[in-house]
């Protein structure tokens, strides 16, 4: 698993790639907590995300709650069909806005 953060327009752009397992999801959670404390508007690039366990979903939920508490924006984009199914089974697709591409995610307005 790899996670890194950049900037695009007024958004923080976080790229999560590889496999988020129960073994490394704590690292992801700590990273996303820092992002959530600092940022108001966050886009997450999932194009290279191969796998995510429920503890990885938990890390995303922590970030979402931090962003929601300040009425910010959190959007995911390029989520693979397999991972999208995990989101749907978990009910996470109801509160994580998921976009097909970076362009649509950043262009969806404030």
């Amino acid at each position: 698993m790899n996670v890194r953060e950049g900037k695009i327009d007024s958004f923080a752009l976080v790229e999560i790639s590889g496999r988020v397992t129960s073994e490394n999801s704590e690292t992801l959670k700590e990273f996303l907590q820092e992002t959530g404390k600092r940022e108001q508007k966050v886009l997450i690039d999932c194009s290279a995300l191969e796998y995510i366990s429920s503890t990885g979903l938990g890390a995303l939920l922590v970030l979402l709650k931090l962003i929601q508490n300040k009425n910010g924006i959190l959007r995911l984009f390029c989520v693979s069909p397999r991972i999208l199914e995990v989101f749907k089974i978990s009910g996470f697709d109801k509160f994580f806005p998921i976009f097909p591409s970076l362009e649509t995610a950043r262009g969806a307005g404030d």
Binding site: T21, Y51, S53, S54, T55, R82, G91, K94
Partner: protein, 146 residues
């Protein structure tokens, strides 16, 4: 790994063992020409079940062995996970409310919710010492690579 004999894997109660578990599960799925979509689900289910045992199953910090057995048939795969942990039937745990808003959602229970929904059958057996969980995934025509 001989295809017909199944695979038995003995792992320590450590999350670091997930790497080996994933590797062996991947190899088993390749041997049985399991469709990558199904292999993904098997991988995820094993992660959830193994992690639950390691994190919540034991009252001590000592070494314990967790035995995972894979068996394939033309129409299904069957995986059992056996531990010597505290008796616990995850199938009796309360269902996750997937309609709750994000603010009320917790991650506890989500793992077993995924297991139930990604597999076709999940069975629990209480052993004299420990637990056995059996998961079965049926293989449709479209789910086996030709």
């Amino acid at each position: 790994m001989k295809k017909d004999e199944g695979v038995e894997l003995k792992l320590p109660n450590s999350l670091a063992a997930l790497t080996e578990l994933h590797a062996v599960a991947g190899e088993f799925c390749r041997q049985w020409a399991i469709h990558p979509d199904i292999a993904f689900k098997v991988d995820l289910v094993l992660d959830e079940l193994f992690t639950n045992i390691v994190r919540y199953g034991y009252d001590d910090n000592g070494f314990h062995e967790i035995v995972v057995r894979f068996k394939g048939r033309h129409d299904r795969i069957r995986i059992s996970i056996e531990d010597d942990a505290r008796h616990f039937n995850p199938l009796l745990a309360p269902e996750v409310d997937i309609d709750a808003p994000a603010s009320e959602r917790r991650i506890g229970g989500l793992g077993i919710h995924l297991v139930r929904n990604l597999m076709d059958q999940v069975r629990y057996q209480r052993r004299p010492v420990g637990n056995r969980l059996i998961v079965i995934k049926r293989l449709g025509k479209e789910e086996k690579q030709i």
